[in-house]
C-alpha cells in the first residue's frame, strides 16, 4: 500500500467578512495512510488553512453535521471514501439554502419545515404506568423512517424544494410526517393528513427521487410520501 498521497480539491469559499462574492479555490493536501474518508481530508486541509469552515461532529454518519455537495452530489463527508472520488474533488455547500460561510449553510428553512409537521408523538390517552404495547410487526413499520439524521442531503437535492422551500415540506419533513402516521401509538392521523392536504406541502413531490439517490442512511422518502398520498386517497373515498 502506498503511504502518502496528494489529493486535489476545488472548494467553494466565501467569507462575507472579507469576500465580495464566492469563489472556487484550488487546493491540494497530502494525506496520511489512515485518511480514508473525505472528512479526514478536510480536517487535514483545515490544519493547513484554518480559515476553511465546515460543520462536523461524530465522523461516523449519525449526527448529520457534515452534509455537503461532493462532485455534484449531496452526501456526508464522513461516509464518503476519498479514493472513490474523481479529482479534483469539487466541494460546494448544499444547494438551495443560503450560504453563511464556505460550505456552511443556513438551515433555518429546512428545520422550519421539519417542525411544521409536528414531529412528535401525539397520544392524548392518560399515560399508563408501564410502556404502551406495540407488536414487533407494528414496530417494524417505523424502520426506514426513524433513522433520519436531519442532514438535509435529500431536501436540498429536490428541485421542488429548491423552488418552494417555504411551501413544500420536502422529503425529510415528509419522511418524519410518515414516521408518526405509521406509529400505532400516535392518535393524530386525521390532523396530520389535514396539515398536509394542500397543493404544495405534500403534492409538490413529483417522484423525481433525488432524495432516495442521495440519502446517506439509505432511506426512501419517496416511498414514504407515496404512502401518505395513499392514506389521503383512502380517506377521501
Amino acid at each position: 500500500m502506498s503511504s502518502k498521497r496528494t489529493v486535489q480539491f476545488k472548494i467553494y469559499r466565501y467569507d462575507p467578512d472579507k469576500d465580495d462574492k464566492p469563489y472556487m479555490q484550488d487546493i491540494s493536501v497530502e494525506l496520511e495512510e489512515s485518511d480514508k474518508k473525505l472528512l479526514d481530508a478536510l480536517v487535514r486541509l483545515k490544519a493547513k488553512d484554518d480559515t476553511l469552515s465546515f460543520r462536523r461532529s461524530c465522523r461516523e454518519g449519525v449526527c448529520g453535521s457534515d452534509a455537503m455537495n461532493i462532485n455534484g452530489k449531496n452526501g456526508l463527508a464522513c461516509l464518503t471514501a476519498i479514493d472513490e472520488l474523481a479529482q479534483p474533488i469539487t466541494i460546494r455547500p448544499l444547494p438551495g439554502l443560503p450560504v453563511v460561510r464556505d460550505v456552511i449553510v443556513d438551515m433555518t428553512q429546512f428545520f422550519k419545515q421539519y417542525h411544521s409537521i409536528k414531529p412528535y408523538l401525539i397520544n392524548n390517552d392518560p399515560a399508563p404506568e408501564r410502556e404502551r404495547l406495540q407488536t414487533p410487526e407494528d414496530r417494524e413499520e417505523l424502520n426506514g423512517l426513524y433513522e433520519c439524521i436531519l442532514c438535509a442531503c435529500c431536501s436540498t437535492s429536490c428541485p421542488s424544494f429548491w423552488w418552494n422551500p417555504d411551501k413544500f415540506v420536502g422529503p425529510a419533513g415528509l419522511l418524519a410526517a410518515y414516521r408518526f402516521l405509521a406509529d400505532t401509538r400516535d392518535q393524530a392521523t386525521g390532523e396530520r393528513l389535514d396539515n398536509l392536504e394542500d397543493p404544495y406541502r405534500l403534492f409538490r413531490c413529483h417522484s423525481i427521487m433525488n432524495c432516495v439517490d442521495v440519502c446517506p442512511k439509505g432511506l426512501n422518502p419517496t416511498k414514504a410520501i407515496g404512502k401518505i398520498k395513499d392514506m389521503m386517497l383512502r380517506r377521501a373515498v
Binding site: D50, G61, F111, P119, N123, P136, R139, R185
Partner: protein
Amino acid sequence: MRTAVLTKVFPTRSHTVAAQGGVAASLGNSTEDNWHWHMYDTVKGSDWLGDQDAIEFMVKKANEVVVELEHFGMPFDRTDNGKIYQRPFGGHSQNYGQTPVSRSCAAADRTGHAMLHALYQRNVRANTQFFVEWMAMDLIRNADGDVLGVTAMEMETGEVSIFHAKATIFATGGAGRIYYSSTNAFINTGDGVGMAARAGIPLEDMEFWQFHPTGVAGAGVLITEGVRGEGGILRNASGERFMERYAPNLKDLASRDVVSRSMVTEINEGRGCGSDKDHVLLDITHLSPETINKRLPGIREISIQFAGVDPIKAPIPVVPTCHYQMGGIPTNYKGQVVVPKDGNPNVPVAGFYAAGECACASVHGANRLGTNSLLDLLVFGKAAGETVVSDFKSGQLTLKPLPENAADVSLARIARLESQTNGEDVHEVRLEMQRTMQKHAGVFRFADILKEGVTKILEVAERAKKTQIKDKSKVWNTARTEALELDNLIEVAKATMISAEARKESRGAHVRDDAIDCAETPNGRDDKNWLKHTLWFSEGNRLDYKPVNLQPLSPEVEPIALAKRTY
C-alpha cells in the same frame, strides 16, 4: 420561569446521538430483574468508588424514565408480547453477579439516536427556546461564588453575550478528545468541565477514563457492547475466545475495564491479530444474518464503512479506545454542583447544576457499566431540572446582580486570540496533548510514565496559552472555536494526568504497575488509603480528597459491602 437552551451544535447532533446499545432499566421484560441487582452491579462495576446514595437513586428511577421516553414516542424494539426489547450487556447480572441479565432497553443499535431525537421532538412540542450554534465560553460567578450564568458566543456572528440566569444547568458532555484515539465526536471537548475548572470548581475523579473494548481498529469508531450482548465473541490471533481465561463467569460480557485490559494483555503478549498484531477480532459470523440485520444494522453499516468488513462474513478488527469520562463536575444526586467549604466536602454552589457525562454524581465511580450513561443523563438531567424548579418555587433562586466585569474573561480570551503573534498552532498543540495523554495515561499506567506525563502535559498547557489562529473573520470562525475548545480540553487533560499520577493504587479503569494484588489490596485496590474521591483544582493544580458515600439513600437499603472484584 423562562428557559434558554444553549447548544454548540443543532440539538440532534450532540454526541448522545451516537450511543448504540441501550439504556439500563430493570424492567424485567425478558429475564427476571430488580433494582437491587442493578444497584449491586453498578457499585461493583464502579469498584466501590461510586456513591451509593446516588446509585440507589438512579437504579430506582430507571424504569420511570425509560417508560417516560417510550411515552414520548421513542421507537424501542419490542418483545413478542409488545414490551420494550432488552438485551444483555457487560457487567449487568442476575442475582448479584451470577448470570447475565437482559437489562439494556434498545432501539436496534441506534438507541442514542432514537433517544436524542425523541427528546428533541418533545422540546419541539414544548416550544423550548434554543440558542443553536452558540458556544458557551465562561461561567460567571460573584464574590460569594454563586453562579449567575454564562458568557456565550454566537458562532454565526462572533458576538459574545451574557446569559444572566437564576439557575445554570450544565449538560455539556465529556472530553474524550483529550486522547489521540477516541470514539468521541469532534465536539466532545469538555467545554462545561473546562469552564467549571477555570471558575474555581474542583473536578472529581478525573483519573478514571473508560477505554471501550471495541473501537474499530484504526478509525476509533465505536462498535457497541450490544454486539457481545447479542452473542459476539472476542478472539485472538489463534481464534481463541480469550475472555474465558480472564472472566470465567461473564466472559465477553465482563465489565469494560476488565475486557479492555484483557485485550491489551493479549496484544502485548503477541497474540494480537493482523500484520502488526495490534488488534483482536470481534466475531459475530455465527449469528444469523437476520439477527444481525434486525438487531445490529448500524454496526454492520459501520463495519463496512470503517473496517471494510461485512460482519456477516468476517470478524471486525477492534481495539480498546477512549470512550467515557467517569469523573467530572462534582454533584449530588439532586444534580446540584457541590464543593468543599468550611470542612463540609459537599456544599451546593448556589445556582449551579450539572448532569450527564460532564457531571460526577458519582454513579460510575472508577468504571462505568455500559447502558448506565444514558440512564445517568436521563435520571440526573430530570433530577437537576426538578431541583431547579423546587429551588425556584421555594424562593432560593433569585436574579443576583452581575459583577461589573462579568464578560471580561471571555472578551480577554478573544482579544488575545485576535492579537497573538509568534504563537502556537492549535492543531499542533492539540495533537501533542492527545499523544501525551495516549502515551502516559492509557489502559495500563506506570508510575514513572505518569510522572513524566505530568511534566509534559504542563508544558503543553503552557503552549496552549499562546495559541494563534490565521482566521480573523467574525462569521463562523471555526478556528477560533477550536482554540477556545482547546482551553477546555487542556483543563481536563491536566486534571486527568495529575489525579492519575497521585492515585497510588489500582481501581476500576485506573490500573498501575506499582499496585500489588494481595490480600490487603485485592487487584491492587487499596481501600485503606484510597477509598476516596479525588478533587483537582485548576489553580495551582492542587489536589484534595473527599470520602466516598458508602451509605445508600434509604435507611432500609443495605450497603453493598466492599469485596474483591471478579467476573
